[in-house]
Amino acid sequence: MKCDYCEIIEQPNHTEILYEDKDLFIIVKDMVITPGQITIVPKAHHPIVEMLPHPIMEKCALLANKVSMALFDIMGGGTNILIQNGLAGGQKVPHFAIEIIPRKENDTLPLQWPSKQLGEADLESTYSLYQEELHREKKQPDQTSSSTTDAKLLESSEKPSEKKQESKKEKIKTDSYLLKSVNRLP
């Protein structure tokens, strides 16, 4: 299976491109949740949020804001900015993207949720799961500063995904990105 977004990047003439630079595309897709939806797609193939290098995320976020402002001006109403991460997160293409979705009052798009009323016990148990994980990350010997532990963990996962770019296209199907890179480490 070829990645749909990599295909667009290779053959951009078949898509409506609003903007392009060395890092990313801003496009009008033909499959959308609602008309007016705009998509920001980094050129490099990073499947999920956790694999995306921070600088690319920063750039995508700033451009998402600009696209959102443009939609406000042109269509009125509001906007949603949505990242679908992982199959369970509704992601259709295994290539990170940000969707900017114009909204109108009573448009009935299912982009809302009924709030769950959680009891203190439920909250506490979820919180302790998070705390355990954060604690475990802090205890890792190769992590130095505790306040930036999370960020460092993520940075360390950037390198593998960047390495991966070189040979990404043929290997998307079967390879386990991080595992491969992990194997290369001492």
């Binding site: 999920i48 804001n65 997160g89 769950k116 990105y177």
Partner: protein, 229 residues
């Protein structure tokens, strides 16, 4: 908030009109539940805190473990926020999304922003939602529809000039007709060599020598990425 009577509302409007920007900001803060949380006046379960942002557990979540990430400064919507706050929140969100995958064994996440009440925004304080997802949880079940080619083009034509204006770029006509628009004189962006928005170098340190810990949890990211096969 309780309903105000007509007189009370008028008095309040009058009061607000005469306030200085600093006083207004202060009033906004007092009215905003998230500013109260940030100030520590309302207790919360904190998962991330730094100088400019706070991430807490949502007590009325879409799903168990739903995180609200917010700027400490009061902004109602994203367009009001300075660039460095936006970039910071989104990169912190990356780490919190990863935390959800690991701590909750979630198999996906959503990063979600609602700008304006039409978009479902309920709080007056900008929030970046990070929602843990599982197959079949029936959240945000959006369906995609095929967009008519003409419609797709008209969106392109109407959005592009404004977007370029906002980016401070000039829209130039193509030197050759492009394949996607064989007959129209639609302007095409000239490929930019210089990008208008560069991520700040201070915030993007060169990657550390990859020190990925080969613990069993590490496969989770791959598992999630590989589900697409």
């Amino acid at each position: 908030m309780p309903e105000l009577t007509e007189d009370q509302r008028k008095a309040l409007e009058e009061k607000i009109k005469n306030m200085s920007p600093a006083e207004l900001a202060e009033l906004q803060k007092q009215q905003c539940i998230f500013c109260q949380i940030i100030a520590g006046k309302i207790p919360s379960k904190k998962l991330h805190e730094d100088d400019t942002s706070l991430g807490i557990l949502d007590i009325n979540p879409a799903a168990k473990g739903h995180i609200l990430l917010m700027p400490k400064q009061h902004y109602a919507i994203m367009p009001q926020m300075p660039d460095e706050i936006i970039t910071h929140l989104f990169t912190v969100a990356q780490t919190l999304s990863q935390l959800q995958l690991r701590a909750l064994k979630a198999t996906g996440t959503n990063l979600f922003v609602a700008n304006g009440p039409e978009a479902g925004q309920r709080a007056q304080h900008f929030l970046l939602h990070i929602i843990p997802r599982r197959e079949g949880d029936k959240l945000l079940e959006v369906e995609e529809k095929m967009l008519d080619k003409q419609y797709q083009k008209s969106i392109h034509t109407s959005v592009q000039p404004r977007l370029y204006e906002l980016l401070g770029l000039k829209l130039e006509k193509p030197t050759e007709p492009s394949l996607s628009q064989p007959k129209t004189q639609q302007p095409q962006p000239k490929q930019q060599d210089q990008i208008p928005i560069e991520p700040s170098p201070a915030k993007s340190p060169s990657p550390q020598p990859a020190a990925k810990r080969p613990s069993k949890e590490d496969v989770s990211l791959d598992d999630i990425a590989n589900l697409f096969k």
